[in-house]
């Protein structure tokens, strides 16, 4: 039994079948991106064990395929098993061995990346200091209270827990949070006094001036899901009230987008007054403390801080082709006593504290200046413990293939010469 299993997993036929399925999957998964959206298609085809039902050029086809995880894992087992079985340390085979070892390393590296890597962003304007990075996709419901004069205490509930609904409790919170409604994606509208005739969902805070309605889950790359929830805060003595919390109010990026849209529609002054109402802090008193709460992008705090000194966005003369994006940043770490300036620009990231900081987006340069904005910059922050594996894997495979083909080629040329 074990023998047969071992033979199955070491067979070249399995390799061939897996490669063939791999090609089909990659092709289908690429074409499907046009219909299903980049992230959705990636997750569904490449980050699952099985794929049920595929989309090709706008048509749904009800067939199943092995997913990326299944093919990758089987290929890895196949490679390792075949490696063990056929391993011979001879000069003639050294290239093949090296190549396959390199491929194994690449596959393992990608697996660990998939499991352990994390992508967040730091968004700041010139002069601002940040000691945390924010998730681009995930939100959290944060309850913030003053611990002492300098420090805040934050209890953050990830949005995916809100999505499950029901009652949420935390030992540091003197109350429970009941999730009454949760929408993964939502659209806001301002409750203009004359037009709205339905009563608001709750008479507290945000809901008095804004209505939210559910929106279809977005699939495109350049938009994101902005959640909204209706929560009730219940202390042991009884309900303290219901509130609406929304990413539209707690996510600076969304607030800015709304401000722009309002200011186009009804002028800057009106827009500012509406936005002020949108971002007005919502608070609740319980257990002798005041808690501010907000649904905001999930944060990761770091023991160091970055201050944006200067954001530069230059273009080629007479065009709008971007020439250079660069952020000059002061890096401060009280633990190590570091306080130094660094430059982060395209193709030249900063690697620090196990993370890498990349120049990601920028609102600076002529356009920002004309719009009267303070130049700002967004850094992509990636933690990926296995970032070096592709480098090593690539070198191994390249060396292996070159060795092998050179052995071939030299043999071939020699044969032709003698022939």
């Amino acid at each position: 039994m074990f023998d047969r299993l071992f033979r199955f997993f070491t067979s070249l036929r399995l390799t061939v079948v897996l490669l063939a399925f791999g090609i089909v999957l990659v092709f289908v998964g690429t074409v499907a991106q046009a219909d299903e959206g980049l992230y959705n298609a990636q997750a569904r085809y490449f980050k699952h064990w099985f794929v049920w039902g595929i989309t090709m050029f706008g048509h749904r086809i009800p067939i199943g395929l092995p997913g990326g995880y299944l093919i990758g894992t089987l290929l890895l087992i196949n490679l390792v098993a075949a490696h063990i079985k056929r391993f011979q340390l001879t000069t003639k085979k050294i290239g093949i061995q090296l190549t396959h070892a390199g491929v194994i390393l690449l596959l393992v590296g990608q697996l660990t990346t998939d499991l352990f890597s994390r992508e967040t962003q730091i968004r700041f304007s010139e002069g601002q200091t940040r000691s945390y990075a924010e998730s681009g996709m995930n939100y959290e419901l944060a309850f913030i209270t003053d611990a002492d004069a300098d420090t805040e205490e934050v209890v953050a509930i990830p949005a995916r827990l809100l999505a499950k609904g029901g009652e949420l409790k935390h030992e540091k919170l003197p109350f429970a949070v009941h999730v009454k409604r949760y929408w993964l994606n939502s659209d806001p509208s301002f409750r203009a006094p004359m037009i709205q005739n339905e009563p608001p969902v709750t008479t507290n805070g945000l809901a008095r001036s804004f209505d939210f309605r559910p929106a279809a889950e977005t699939k495109s790359m350049d938009s994101k899901n902005v959640p909204t929830a209706l929560i009730e805060i219940v202390a042991p003595g009884g309900s303290l009230g219901a509130w609406v919390v929304s990413g539209w109010a707690g996510d600076d990026l969304m607030v800015e987008a709304l401000r722009e849209s309002f200011s186009r529609q009804m002028g800057e002054q009106m827009a500012t007054s509406i936005i002020n109402r949108l971002t007005e802090p919502q608070t609740v008193e319980a257990g002798g403390k005041q808690f501010a709460f907000v649904l905001r992008p999930a944060r990761v705090y770091e023991p160091y801080s970055l201050t944006l000194l200067k954001a530069t966005h230059s273009i080629y003369r007479g065009t709008d082709i971007p020439k250079d994006f660069r952020s000059r940043v002061r890096l401060e770490n009280s633990r190590t006593g570091e306080s130094r300036e660094v430059e982060i620009f395209m193709n030249s990231p900063l690697r620090y504290g196990g993370q890498t900081f990349y120049q990601y987006q920028m609102a600076a340069g002529e356009l920002a200046r004309r719009a009267g904005q303070v130049p700002s910059s967004t850094l992509q922050v990636v933690r990926n413990p296995s970032w070096l594996t592709p480098y090593a894997g690539c070198i191994m495979v390249a060396a292996g293939l070159v060795t092998q083909f050179m052995i071939h080629l030299v043999g071939f040329v020699a044969r032709r010469k003698t022939a």
Partner: protein
């Protein structure tokens, strides 16, 4: 004598090529000199000649202007060089507005613009129209382009959802905008005698500036001087708003060499108290001389301007001259001609006519390759970049790589096959490049994210070589099937050697495509922090790698033999063309460059043709013309088709 024939043929061809490099003798106006003046457009320093050629490519898909398109080629229509056309657009627009340089193909667009049908008597070819013919319908044109553009700006639709008619409208819109930009580059488009007008402006400046200052300070001011001056400034402001090319070099090159200006900008600077920029004066003098038809005056002004630029702008002048030479050389076009010629000779040699044909072909390919290489290197020097920077240059580089590989094969096998591959792939890729060049400037500046010579030189070059070698393997396989099915020239030995070539090249392709793809991942990791993002272009490259690996494993496992390998290699053509072009058409992801629907049809056509050939390759052996005679001894063929050992 007979032995030297290939050499003589190639020598003659080379001589012809060298002759075309000489600057043409010009009877009156020194257009070539004018075309060599440096300007800035698309963010880079280039000669006016490049602007002229690229603009004509955009307007009418040719680098020359045919002023009598209704005439057949045998009736000798008047064809003028791009620079002569542009000189007229910039300095004598009344004449240029009459020339039919706008190509309009779409019948609904022709109807919208109320353009005349083909009618030789009335000198209409039904495809090319002049500004004056289009101008009365500009309002209708404007309405349509605003409707489509507005819809896309509000993100209600995106460009991929346009109908063919809407595509034609938007393309026409771009062409018209370009034309207006060119007309406003050197002088306001409605200028009369520009030098004279400039003189009037100059004399109006002191009084005008004083009047404006007085007006701003709330004092009494000279109404007439104010009005005249403001009128001028408005005119120049309109001019610069069209965003024409930047003709005026920076005033202080020692501080920044980048600050080129539009003529309009330079003139408005005058209102702030600067003197009129000398370049503006020179160009104005050229324009007036040109308009009056005084060739000698014009030529003298051009020469004086060049001399005036020399002390401070020698590098720009040199760059412009180099690019002018490159434009005149048209290396890729000429290499294409030689590839065709060589391909015909090499193909003929298969039928056992004479080895002379094959040797002539190889020599000609050598010449074509030298020219091709020169072009490639000159482009690299002009751009200061590695060979591949965009889709256009990838086509040129794939052709180059394939040609080298084919010649290496020819060197070993001497059977005319490598020669046909070299010339065939070389020709086809250069044709593709030619069509890609219709978009305009092919030496555009690199966006910030791509602005790294290290990764362009490694990832892009290696992955493009991977494409090239996969195509070479595919081309060899095509030859196997076509010769086998339709001719008697594929004997067992030749079949075996072709198979060996395909196998060797597939090995090569695996190496390059794998290393190239992984390097791309590493670049992505360097620039935005993720090694692999399942982006369409990455996936396309991955499919090539997987496919090549699959072929090798099939072969090593003995699951395919001679014909199996051949058919697999043709699938490689499909896979590679998908990665090269197909993924761009999905209009998603980071690598999408925006693409026309016409290219999509060609891609589908190519894929269908390859599938057809694979179907031929699957025909039973007795239907193959080459194998019919050998069918008596199938065992022997089978033995030869045995797989290679797995090392």
């Amino acid at each position: 004598m007979k032995k030297r024939l290939p050499l003589i043929l190639t020598g003659l061809m080379a001589a012809w090529f060298l002759c075309t490099l000489r600057a043409p003798k010009e009877k009156d106006f020194a257009y070539a000199e004018f075309g060599g003046l440096p300007i800035v457009f698309n963010g880079r320093v280039q000669p006016i000649d490049s602007l002229a050629r690229n603009s004509l490519l955009q307007l009418r898909e040719k680098q020359t202007a045919n002023l009598e398109p209704w005439k057949g080629w045998n009736e000798k229509p008047k064809i003028i060089p791009a620079i002569e056309w542009l000189a007229n657009v910039m300095m004598k627009p009344d004449a240029a507005d009459e020339w039919p340089v706008f190509r309009v193909d779409h019948p609904e667009l022709i109807a919208l613009l109320k353009l005349p049908e083909k009618d030789k008597q009335n000198r209409q070819d039904g495809k090319h129209y002049s500004w004056n013919q289009i101008q009365p319908s500009l309002e209708a044109m404007d309405r349509e382009s605003k409707r489509i553009g507005g819809r896309e700006q509000r993100k209600e639709t995106d460009p991929s959802q346009r109908t063919p008619y809407e595509n034609a409208v938007m393309k026409m819109h771009e062409r018209l905008v370009l034309y207006i930009r060119l007309k406003n580059a050197l002088q306001p488009q409605d200028a009369g005698d520009w030098a004279q007008e400039l003189g009037e402006f100059e004399s109006a400046v002191p009084a005008g500036v004083a009047a404006v200052r007085a007006q701003q300070a709330g004092q009494k001011y000279d109404d007439a001087a104010f009005g005249k001056f403001v009128g001028f400034v408005r005119r120049f402001d309109v001019m610069r708003r069209f965003e024409p090319p930047l003709l005026v070099p920076p005033r202080h090159p020692d501080i920044s060499r980048d600050n080129w200006m539009r003529v309009g900008d330079a003139l408005i600077g005058t209102a702030r108290g600067e003197s009129i920029h000398p370049s503006v004066r020179y160009y104005a003098a050229m324009a007036s001389a040109f308009q009056e038809g005084k060739a000698d005056d014009f030529n003298q002004k051009v020469a004086e301007y060049r001399a005036a630029l020399t002390p401070s702008f020698a590098p720009e002048l040199a760059k412009a001259s180099r690019e002018l030479f490159f434009n005149r050389m048209q290396p890729f076009y000429k290499a294409m001609v030689f590839y065709v010629l060589a391909g015909v000779l090499a193909g003929a040699s298969w039928f056992g006519l004479s080895d002379l044909l094959r040797r002539s072909a190889v020599w000609l390919i050598g010449l074509a390759l030298v020219i091709h290489t020169c072009g490639l290197v000159m482009r690299m020097v002009l751009e200061g970049r590695p060979p591949v920077t965009n889709l256009y240059s990838s086509a040129i580089f794939i052709g180059w790589g394939a040609c080298v590989l084919g010649l290496v094969l020819e060197r070993f096998y001497k059977d005319g096959i490598g020669a046909v591959v070299s010339s065939g792939v070389g020709f086809i890729t250069l044709i593709i490049a030619h069509h890609l060049a219709l978009g305009g400037d092919t030496m555009e500046m690199m966006r910030a994210v791509l602005d790294t010579n290290f990764w362009l030189a490694t990832h892009v070059v290696v992955v493009t070589l991977g494409y090239a070698s996969t195509f070479v393997a595919g081309a060899l396989a095509l030859i196997y099937i076509v010769r086998g099915v339709f001719t008697r020239t594929l004997n067992a030995a030749r079949g075996k050697s072709l198979t060996r070539m395909v196998y060797g090249i597939v090995c090569f392709a695996t190496l390059f495509s794998f290393v190239g793809t992984v390097l791309g991942g590493i670049w992505a990791d360097q620039s935005w922090g993720r090694f692999w993002g399942w982006d369409p272009k990455e996936n396309g490259a991955l499919i090539i790698v997987l496919w090549n690996a699959l072929i090798l494993h099939l072969r090593w496992g003995g699951m395919i033999r001679e014909r199996g390998l051949i058919n697999c290699a043709i699938v490689g053509n499909i896979v590679t063309s998908w990665s090269w072009f197909g993924v761009n058409m999905l209009e998603i992801g980071l690598h999408s460059y925006g693409f026309t629907q016409a290219a999509f049809k060609w891609l589908i056509g190519f894929v269908v043709s390859q599938l057809f050939i694979i179907a031929l390759g699957l025909l039973p052996r007795h239907l193959w013309v080459s194998f019919r005679d050998q069918a008596v001894a199938p065992a022997a063929v089978g033995a030869k088709g045995k797989p290679a050992p797995a090392t």
